[in-house]
């Protein structure tokens, strides 16, 4: 097993995290009224509430028929500054933290607090947990945007030398881990820069544990391990050049 307390955590002055997400899937399904009750319990922490949903539209051109189906509906609770978000779905709770991201301790305390308030334990059974950190690395523009990303990320695309460095790229890497029982989906791509005089690359680390211990404290420990693995992956993918950006 990975040691969750073995390494000091690197805290950056300007962490590149644009969104951190923790998701819990449950074995049971909440009715609409139960979702509303759940939303009411956390209203004091998240004053704004919006109903969101997905609509599935099926078109059959041959029959000239279109059918709209409400695929899913959920309640989105958020803090007044919209950086702390809780999605209450029929069988999923999603905690999202937008930038500015402070610390894992702060984020996990919020999750723990909500779990206690919602009274997830001991009735509901968690069937899957996930963690996702979406980072945007703002690279100072040098005038030549071609092929800059290799200096900031260890991972990348290996191409024959005859092919010039990329002006844009996307890569996607899925693997299963042994130390922590989960799979990871790591993606990176050039994205549209938002900060003036920069080029931007995205690094998205997504960890999914499909087998979750039944006991809550063990599940919570698994979440800590996912977070540790996420940090290990992130730190092993970025370079010192990237670290300089987050530290300044």
């Amino acid at each position: 097993m990975l040691e969750t307390e073995s390494k000091p955590v690197t805290c950056y002055k300007a962490p590149p995290i644009t969104e951190a997400v923790v998701e819990m899937h449950f074995g049971d399904v909440l009715s609409e009224s139960a979702r509303k009750r759940t939303s009411g319990k956390v209203a004091r922490f998240y004053p704004t509430e919006v109903q969101e949903g997905l609509i599935n539209l099926q078109l059959n051109p041959a029959a000239r028929k279109a059918e709209f189906i409400d695929e899913d509906k959920w309640l989105k609770r958020a803090t007044e500054d919209q950086t702390e978000i809780l999605l209450i779905k029929s069988n999923v709770l999603t905690w999202s933290q937008l930038a500015p991201y402070a610390t894992w301790d702060q984020f996990s305390e919020r999750i723990r607090r909500d779990i206690d308030v919602i009274a997830v334990r001991p009735r509901r059974i968690v069937t899957r947990i996930g963690m996702r950190y979406i980072n945007r690395i703002d690279i100072p523009a040098s005038g030549d945007s071609v092929g800059q990303y290799e200096g900031y990320l260890q991972g990348g695309i290996s191409m024959p030398p005859i092919i010039p460095p990329p002006s844009a790229y996307t890569w996607h890497y899925e693997t299963r881990h042994e130390d922590v029982p989960c799979r990871s989906v790591i993606k990176s791509a050039t994205v549209i820069p938002i900060v003036p005089n920069t080029n931007a690359i995205m690094l998205d680390i997504d960890l999914i544990a499909d087998v979750v211990p039944a006991r809550f404290e063990e599940m919570w420990e698994l979440l800590q391990q996912l977070r540790h693995l996420k940090n290990t992956l992130f730190e092993s993918i970025i370079t010192d050049k990237a670290r300089e950006i987050f530290s300044s």
């Binding site: 949903g53 997905l54 041959a62 919209q82 937008l98 938002i194 900060v195």
Partner: protein
């Protein structure tokens, strides 16, 4: 004769805009674009806000404009220091007070706010401006120092309308105005010494 294939439009998770993953991933809470389509062989995906925009009240529109601005700010929040974000949010909240909203006015346009954020990142003004809103939803910023004024209207596509009134001792009051891109503002305003308004020193 083969029958025409049925076209299925599935919900499109914008967080997976790069590549859909089999077996599912962790979803993002970031809002979907107003309506998006993704066309591929045999499958089309669509997402839309819920409920449809046509049914929204003014209160809902004010709320959504604020949410959009705050979420947009989160994308650059790691580069905003010294409580800038909180001060902007406090002003935006005041500007969008539903009780004092003039009938017919538009809430803040996201495109205008994007231009404003770009301005903040480029200039890093030490002195915060007073913020206002034009009737059509463009963000206004004003720095006033005695008789001297710098006023900016942030428009879409990084365009900025600017107005300067500068009154130095022993000279006739000088006025200037124009339209520029936010990136060109430092050069365009340089003759008026904008640092006198936006810097503490």
């Amino acid at each position: 004769m083969s029958s025409a294939p049925e076209l299925t439009l599935k919900a499109f998770n914008p967080a997976d805009r790069i590549h859909p993953v089999k077996g599912g991933t962790v979803g993002s809470a970031l809002p979907a674009p107003p309506v998006s389509f993704q066309l591929s062989q045999g499958e089309t995906r669509i997402s839309t806000p819920f409920p449809p925009p046509a049914k929204k009240s003014m209160e809902e529109r004010l709320f959504e404009a604020l949410v959009a601005a705050k979420v947009r700010t989160s994308l650059v929040a790691m580069h905003l220091h010294g409580g800038v974000r909180d001060k902007i949010f406090a002003q935006l909240n005041r500007l969008h007070d539903a009780d004092e909203w003039p009938e017919g006015d538009e809430p803040l346009k996201l495109e205008s706010f994007k231009t404003f954020l770009r301005f903040l990142l480029l200039f890093e003004p030490e002195l915060r401006p007073s913020l206002g809103l034009s009737p059509d939803g463009n963000l206004l910023a004003a720095w006033v120092k005695e008789e001297n004024r710098l006023m900016l209207e942030f428009c879409e596509l990084n365009r900025v309308s600017w107005l300067v009134v500068r009154e130095d001792a022993n000279t006739f009051p000088e006025r200037g105005s124009g339209v520029s891109t936010v990136d060109r503002l430092p050069e365009v305003l340089a003759p008026y010494r904008p640092e006198d308004w936006i810097s503490r020193g």
